[in-house]
């Protein structure tokens, strides 16, 4: 009994074509879902604040997200003096609107920011944007922005009105930063509604051999805890953009301050306010998996059940269960693998062609499911193959239990004729 004979039995029952069609469709749906969910997950778990192994983020404890807190700019001096800290970048995150769509504007000191971030120049110049702004490639692609464009930005939380910024360059960072607009620190402060002596957070570039996030946290906490109530004016390096900020006039700011080092990812905002968390992404994936698996399992069952008599007859005339199962399994696995591959290709085409799927906006970030589509291939292959294996074993055993083919045939044909 060869594989070809088994597939001919299934084909004669018109079971093969529907099975292949369903396999391709569900593989495509799996692959599509996984690409979309993985891209959403990348936003949830992504380091939108810019933290990494040697980049430590210091933000305000108690704020709902890492970028919604407020810290005094005067903390810059304290952080710069910590052992093992190579550079400090004060940053302001300002949720804003550009050309009708939400955007995150990050106000920075260009010099210290570029020490933190490896950026690739795609257009124009990005090394000095003190009189304009630079734009991430995803944001630039979405709104057709290029070097030399002027963009108008309105802050969600400030009252500065419309701020016109001249784009000096477009960059790529291969991070969520590619969805942001980066401007001088004061622009972020205008749009965020901050005074000139406030920032959202600090990013520290550390030497991992000399210090760590936990050490920084302990040191900062002890400094803040012991700070006296004095007027402080931050001091900056000569030539730094920060030296052009109007002087801080308020009293300090360090006393009573509570900081958090390495806060959770940007997804915390979406999670706490809307329930769109990593857990919900995984749960939804599980829901899709279970639902599609049910359809797949019963499709396999249909194909095998349709040739039940033939397989039972084969068992009657001496074919071992092992041989039958192995042949069925081989046919189903080959079909699943081929259909899974076709389904993945179909999903990639759908992602590339359907508007609204190639890239879409999630909160302030632009996600591209197409870039995650490669990860959909193992899923598109693995799930049907696993389903095929489980379904074949279970159903073959079921076939074997009802091995009296004659009695089944008589019962079925008698029942059907009686209905008419």
């Amino acid at each position: 009994m060869s594989l070809g004979q088994v597939s001919r039995i299934l084909r004669s029952k018109k079971a093969l074509v529907p099975l292949v069609v369903i396999l391709v469709a569900t593989s495509a749906a799996f692959s599509l879902s996984s690409s979309i969910l993985l891209s959403i997950y990348s936003v949830q778990s992504g380091a939108a604040l810019g933290q990494s192994q040697n980049i430590v983020v210091v933000s305000q404890r108690g704020s709902s997200t890492g970028f919604s807190g407020e810290l005094p700019l005067s903390l810059l001096g304290t952080l710069s003096g910590l052992g093992g800290v190579e550079a400090v970048s004060p940053e302001v995150f300002a949720p804003s609107v550009i050309l009708g769509g939400p955007v995150m504007v990050r106000g920075v000191d260009p010099t210290s920011f570029l020490q933190m971030q490896q950026l690739q120049t795609l257009d124009g110049k990005i090394n000095n944007f003190s009189s304009g702004a630079i734009v991430g490639k995803d944001l630039a692609a979405k709104y057709h922005i290029h070097a030399g464009s002027t963009v108008s930005v309105v802050g969600d939380l400030g009252s500065a009105g419309v701020v016109d910024l001249r784009v000096s360059g477009i960059f790529s960072s291969r991070t969520l930063l590619d969805s942001e607009l980066v401007a001088p620190l004061w622009v972020g402060q205008w749009l965020r509604g901050f005074a000139y002596n406030s920032v959202s957070l600090f990013r520290l570039k550390i030497d991992p051999t000399l210090t760590s996030a936990s050490l920084v946290a302990a040191t900062v906490s002890s400094i803040v805890h012991s700070a006296k109530n004095t007027t402080s004016t931050p001091t900056f390096l000569p030539g730094s953009l920060l030296s052009f900020l109007p002087s801080a006039s308020s009293t300090s700011d360090l006393q009573g301050l509570s900081v958090l080092v390495q806060p959770s990812s940007s997804g915390q905002f979406l999670s706490s306010e809307f329930g769109l968390s990593e857990d919900s992404v995984w749960l939804f994936s599980a829901l899709v998996f279970i639902a599609m698996s049910v359809a797949l399992f019963f499709s396999f069952q249909e194909s095998i059940e349709s040739a039940r008599r033939e397989f039972q007859t084969l068992r009657q005339i001496g074919m071992t269960l092992r041989a039958l199962v192995s042949k069925l399994l081989a046919v189903n696995l080959i079909l699943s693998a081929i259909a899974g591959l076709c389904g993945w290709v179909l999903s990639v085409l759908i992602l590339a062609v359907v508007p609204g799927l190639e890239s879409f906006q999630l909160a302030f970030y632009i996600v591209r499911p197409f870039s995650e589509s490669g990860l959909g291939l193992p899923i598109a292959l693995a799930v049907p193959v696993a389903e095929a294996t489980v379904a074949t074993f279970l159903l073959a055993l079921r076939l074997d239990r009802g091995r009296n083919a004659s009695r089944y045939w008589l019962w079925e044909s008698g029942g059907n004729n009686a209905a008419l």
């Binding site: 400030g158 900020l245 109007p246 249909e302």
Partner: protein, 404 residues
Amino acid sequence: MWRTRTQVKITCNPTIRIQSIWQLFSLALKLVLRRIDASAILVLMLAPTVVLLVGTSVVAGGFATQAQTVASLLPSGEQRFTAYSNSSSSPSASVIDFTVYTRLRDVNGVQWALPFLALNGTASNRANDLTQVSIIGTNITELISVKSAELTGGLANSSSEVDVGAISAKVLALGIGDNVTLNVAGEERTFRVAGIVNSSSQYDVAVLLPLEYAWQIWPRYTGTLSYVEFSLSPGGTQESLGSIRTLTSGGLYTVSEQGLAPTISSFANQVSGLIGVWTAVLLVLSAVIAVSASFRILSVAGEEFRVSRVIGAKTSTAKSLVFYELLIVSAVSVTAGIGGGVVAADIFSAFLRALSGVGLTPLVDPMRVGLLALASLCFIIGGGGGTLFLIFGRASKNLISYSS
């Protein structure tokens, strides 16, 4: 089905006639129930996509409601707007008539309005340090009031004086009483710094002078503005907005400082858009699975089709029998899918609450769920019915040759 060469004498019983659609339907229902195992499998093939459709819709509805609730709780405060020419890409590049300002200022409900003439130029100090600046002609007194700005020194009140933004003053190392040279379109002119303005806005990187003096110094811009900023009082009102829309409908574009609420609302719209595309994909998938299910229905009901034709039923009657079976299976699948989807959404939110403490209440919108059910049913019946229609032709021909 086993083929035999046995001669079979078939007597056509003239009493077997289907009188009504209801009889046919009840017969189809009996056949579906008689083959309960096979029918259940078909339902389980079709229902999961409906479960996903409904479950996703219910969860997304809850998400959207939650987003709207959050948005509505955010304070809205004073409504501020910027009006400029809709043929320009930005306010600073726009050119509008001064009368736009006077008309906006006079609209009932407008708390304040400010005219702005924005010119691009360069500024240099005595050390000839050059920097790009915006030169803004406006009502400086009102600007300081509206922006709650701090003024060090005095207001510029002649054509030879300017007020400099706090950041520009630091960049150019300018103090009160210093001279600054402005160059606009090749025309150079030196001014005295009367004051330094700290407004925590883009005017801190600008040089300000009264609008009438700007027109006087650069007469080609006389009677024109770049944009107008204005504000509606907290109490006002749809009527004010209506008047403003009428005013600005001819060639003006109005941008509002909207606060965070519309942005958060837009998040819900983003998810809705994605769900819409996902829904379309699932509907197509359900049609595809229905095609497969119809093959199975035909292979099982095909025997009944052939037998019914042999004993005298019309072709249309026999086809209708099979179609009704598809209809019944589809209806049961969609019904099961709706129930399953609502339950799945509840389980989803319960798990979410248990895992991460996040409360997301699913929203069952009967209208939306009904529309999804109807769409699913149409796609399933369309896919399955179309397949049956295509296959029946061949089956009919085979049957004719068999019975003759």
